[in-house]
Symmetry: C2
Subunit: 109 residues, 2 copies
DNA sequence: TGAATATCTCAACCAACGCTGAGATGTTCA
DNA sequence: TGAACATCTCAGCGTTGGTTGAGATATTCA
C-alpha cells in the first residue's frame, strides 16, 4: 500500500518548540556587560547612578540608559535618597529577578 | 585643614566592578530564540539538525549556524548517528551547561 | 534666585548579529 | 558511480542595539 516516496528527515516528528520568550528577554538584558554588572552589584544593596557609573568607568547617561531597560523589564526600581533627594537609588525587585532566574534555568537546567 | 572643594558623588567609592564576562557570553547565546529553543530541546536528549529545524520552523542552514555558535562555546557537541551517519546528532555538554548556569546565577541569584 | 549636581531623554552614528542564498562536503542507496 | 539527502561555510544584506552628544528636568545649597 505504502508508496516508496523519498522520505526526508524521518526522525522524531513529535518534537515541539518550547516557549523561551522570557528567557530570551532576560538573556538580551544580561548579554551586555554594563547591565550584567549592574544586576550583580545591586545584589548587595541599592546604589545610585553615579556610584554604578564610577565603579564601571562608564558615563552616567549611558548607565542611565541601561538602568531604563532594566526598569522597563521590572528587574529594578528607583527611589530618591531620603537624606539627599538629588540621588536616585536603584534596587532590584527580587521577585522579578527570581522569575527571570527561573526562566533561564528552565533553559539551562 | 580640609578645603571645601565641591564634592562630586560622595557615596560608596569602595564599590568595584564584578567579573561578568562568562555570564555575558551565555546571555548573548540565550538572547536568540532559536538558540534558546535548541538548548531547551536538547535538555531531553540528542537531536539532529533536521529535527530541530522542523520543530522550530527554521531553515536547516540557519539552525546549523546557531549550532555552530553553541558548539564554539562548548555547550553542545555533535556525533554522527550510528545507524545512519548522514544525520549529525547534537547533545549538550552538561558540565559546560552547568558552569554556564552557575555564571548566570551569580548575576541573578 | 542662580549655580552646581544628578539624572533622564532622544536623535544620530556605527558596529554586531541574524537571515538568506549559493556553493561545498560527506553519507546513503539504487 | 551518480543522484538525493543532511549539513556546513561564507559572503552579503538589513536590522538591532550600544555609545555618544546635546539638551531638559529635578534637587541642593549658597
Amino acid at each position: 500500500m505504502s508508496t516508496s516516496l523519498p522520505v526526508i528527515c524521518v526522525p522524531r516528528l513529535d518534537l515541539e518548540a518550547p516557549d523561551v520568550a522570557e528567557a530570551v528577554a532576560i538573556g538580551a538584558l544580561v548579554a551586555d556587560g554594563t547591565r550584567a554588572s549592574i544586576l550583580r552589584m545591586l545584589r548587595d544593596g541599592p546604589h545610585c547612578v553615579c556610584e554604578l557609573a564610577a565603579a564601571l568607568g562608564e558615563r552616567e547617561n549611558n548607565v542611565s540608559n541601561h538602568l531604563a531597560k532594566l526598569r522597563d523589564a521590572g528587574l529594578v526600581r528607583a527611589s530618591r535618597h531620603e537624606a539627599n533627594a538629588r540621588f536616585l537609588y536603584y534596587e532590584r525587585d527580587e521577585a522579578v529577578v527570581g522569575r527571570a532566574r527561573a526562566a533561564v534555568e528552565e533553559i539551562l537546567r
